[in-house]
Amino acid sequence: MKRLPFTRLLLPALAVLLLTASGAFAQQDMTHVPTEAFKKLTRPPAAFAHDAHNEKAGLTDCTACHHGEKDGKRDPASDTAGIPCADCHAVAAKAGKTPLERAFHLQCMGCHLTQKKGPVTCGDCHKPAAK
């Protein structure tokens, strides 16, 4: 069959491409909170280096952020690491659900206020990219 070599070549090529692409979005390379789900950004993305943050904060439990949901409430028992936040937190959420922007603000600001550490004001997270 003529199509066979094409598939043989294309599949590994796709696999390589996907691996490279996912590498670019891997948590160790993360510099900002992911904003792909938002149609339009009104402020610069919030600075967030995943690994450096967790090391500094002494965070080892992924569910501190990557929580699940049970009966419409936050469920800290289920680990959702690896699932994009926007998969559950829609940008325009239905009533009773937490929209993405509020989820991000609550997650970061809420914890920083409780811990009395880390940025809490608009300008300390939403900084223009360093030139």
Partner: protein, 219 residues
Amino acid sequence: MHALYDLAVGPLAWLAFAVFILGSIYRLMSMRALALKKDAAFVAYISWPHAIRSLLHWVTPFGALGWRENPGVTIVTFLFHICLFVAPLFLMGHIVLFDTFHGWSWPALPDGVADTLSIVVVAACAYFLWRRLSVPEVRFVTRSHDWLVLALVGATFLTGVLAYHRIGDNLFMTTLHVLCGEAMLVAIPFTRLSHMLFGFFSRGYIASEFGSVRFAKDW
């Protein structure tokens, strides 16, 4: 500083709103009681049609003789008051705080527009400050309360603009901004800022006297 910021955007914010709303109701009710007790005959002459017609003239730029006398002051006064209300009520940073902690949200102005309106307020405050210092007839009627309210409004908007532009330590500037704003809210019922509550009634009364007693316009 975290603890102070937390206090300022939490309990102190509710305290400020409560003092502002309850204080305003108290001031309006007690002024009404005083007017009925001391000036019941004058209150009887209050005429809504005259009051409303006069107010419509006075809320229109150059709609009253008083506004035509000093065009510069008129333009700054109108710009100042419009920006003073529009900028904070439709500011994204303010809406985000309500959205994050209470789930209340409403449309926001683009950041650039809100920034410009806030700078207009600061510039207008600088103009009013210059007027109070340099114009003899204004200086003559200026009392300590006037400096206080000008400083409260000026400081609130200036710190807001500085925080937005990330000038100075952001946590310090933002906390200072929130505290100044709360002081301003609390000051509304109890200082000369109470013209926000009483201005319409004073004008309404003058219009009624001019309209139904003197048969004259008060604009």
